[in-house]
Symmetry: C2
Subunit: 318 residues, 2 copies
């Protein structure tokens, strides 16, 4: 076991890889059956298996584990977050939106499948995400290693799943991610201001990240205190994640990121570095990291993966 | 009470109007609170309140009533179907899809708000639909007239709502409406064949119509026999609805329909009239009507509205 910079006894690289494999195996098995029309299925699979880091599902699994749960019991719900994230990328990349040609080092979905199928692939992923969240059986049916406790809790978990449908719909929809993306598009080419920038960040990215973290305590039926602490962690991480994304667009390189760098500036996007400069933005990200770690104080080593993920997300290079 | 052509003692015009008002009032109250960004809210409201016939919600309410329920108890779930229908129209009308300029006699959403906001308005409606389906409280909180039985059943209904989330996600997503729309786009300009046409019809329209009808017995916890009968009714009506839509595109006029007629032919869409001719298509629609009415035989007068709606939908002029 490697002791990391944060002093936690978690090998974060191994942890992330293990969870990534778990999510990928679940998604592969879920989308294994052929589906008509083939072009739609291919388009969905193209973006879903384009090498995403699976940050949102991993946050959900780590947060569920921090609450004493077995990650395999909530794979459908965690994987659904990746469907939502993938749909948002496909739609954001469209010519009418951010008009991006490159994503994760590959041509964007509409470049390969055309705009119509790309729009429909996004719609399909968004809709399927809610099927997965509401699926009380799928991990049981299709995936080995689900714990017996998970099986026994199946009935008990139903009200939580219904609450989760609402939670995720709020975070992903017009009161969350879609609202943020709309504001992001509308604010292009206008003078950056603190209030609009904050709205964009909190809605476009932070809402779904925070909801991913909240998924853990919600499904583990943790206490209000635990839910509050993890919500704070999730909100800090959501903001940090978007600031770092904006910074990488300024400081990163295209091969590292797998997408065109400098595009925010070219499109006159409202970003943290654009409003405050790189230095202040970097400091703000570090403050968010500190806030996220502070929120985890009530937890012992069961939250070490969440601590390490926080460091990893703020210090990442892609 | 007017005895109609079908011999049922239901004033169908009054019935449809009463239900339409109920749905519209619910939707208006749901979307009354201002929402940032304004342009997104306006875009959503523009299409949602563009004078839709509310067929899917009305089918759900009529089917719930046929199972002995009070329509006001399932308004959120019924209204959610209209959000799904509206999102599908906004996305279908996009330049990359069917490229339509006119819908319900008004410029299409992207013509007014631009493509980016139109895509996001569709995404917002699709996501919000699942919030509404999973909402155990909203009609209680915001809408008068909910029956006390509905209130008492709140807890009991939760497992049904979770099942309904899956049912609607399947009907609306890649295994339903989105799959059908993708096949519809892909089949443009190719020689019509029976198998592809049948796939398009069953998925693009019939799946969500059938699910709308199934919503009633599912939430009323009706017997398997009742669910089966209403499923048959819904499947016949779904197919009839699409055939009549195709026929109106050939036979209707633009002012009647509020959308450009003849566009299917111009785009070389695969339709029933294109494959079989108008005569055979009209006969097929009548056969579906007969099948739908046959499926309702186990029901007494409680299914009269469903019978009248079937006649209305097959003989409509818009």
């Amino acid at each position: 076991m490697i002791h990391s910079a944060s002093g936690c006894a978690v090998d974060i690289t191994a942890y992330l890889e293990e969870k990534r494999v778990l999510i990928n195996e679940y998604l592969k098995s879920y989308f294994a059956a052929p589906l008509q029309p083939e072009a739609l299925h291919e388009s969905v699979a193209y973006s879903l298996f384009a090498g995403g880091k699976r940050i949102r599902p991993i946050l959900a699994l780590a947060s569920y584990e921090a609450c004493g749960g077995n990650a395999r019991d909530i794979l459908p719900q965690a994987a659904a977050l990746e469907l939502l994230h993938t749909y948002s990328l496909i739609h954001d990349d469209l010519p009418a939106m951010d008009n991006d040609d490159l994503r994760r080092g590959k041509p964007t979905n509409h470049k390969v499948f055309g705009e119509a199928i790309a729009i429909l692939a996004g719609d399909a992923l968004l809709t399927e995400a809610f099927f997965m969240i509401a699926d009380t059986n799928s991990s049981l049916r299709t995936f080995p290693g689900r714990s017996m406790e998970g099986v026994r809790n199946k009935r008990l978990r139903r009200p939580s799943l219904l609450r989760l449908v609402r939670e995720i719909a709020r975070a992903a929809g017009m009161r969350g991610m879609v609202g943020g993306q709309a504001q992001d598009i509308l604010a292009e080419n206008s003078e950056p201001d603190e209030q609009t920038l904050s709205f964009i960040h909190l809605h476009k990215t932070a809402a779904l990240i925070a909801a991913s973290v909240r998924l853990g305590p919600m499904l583990a039926k943790s206490s209000a205190r635990v839910l509050r602490a993890l919500t704070q962690y999730g909100e800090h991480m959501g903001l940090a994640f978007q600031i770092v994304d904006d910074l990488l667009d300024v400081e990163g390189t295209t091969p590292e990121l797998g997408k065109t760098v400098g595009s925010d500036r070219a499109k006159r996007k409202m970003t943290y570095p654009a409003l405050y400069g790189v230095e202040v933005a970097r400091r703000k990200a570090e403050e968010c990291l500190a806030g996220a770690l502070r929120a985890l104080r009530p937890f012992a080593s069961e939250a070490d993966p969440l601590r390490e993920i926080a460091h990893y997300l703020v210090r990442r290079r892609r």
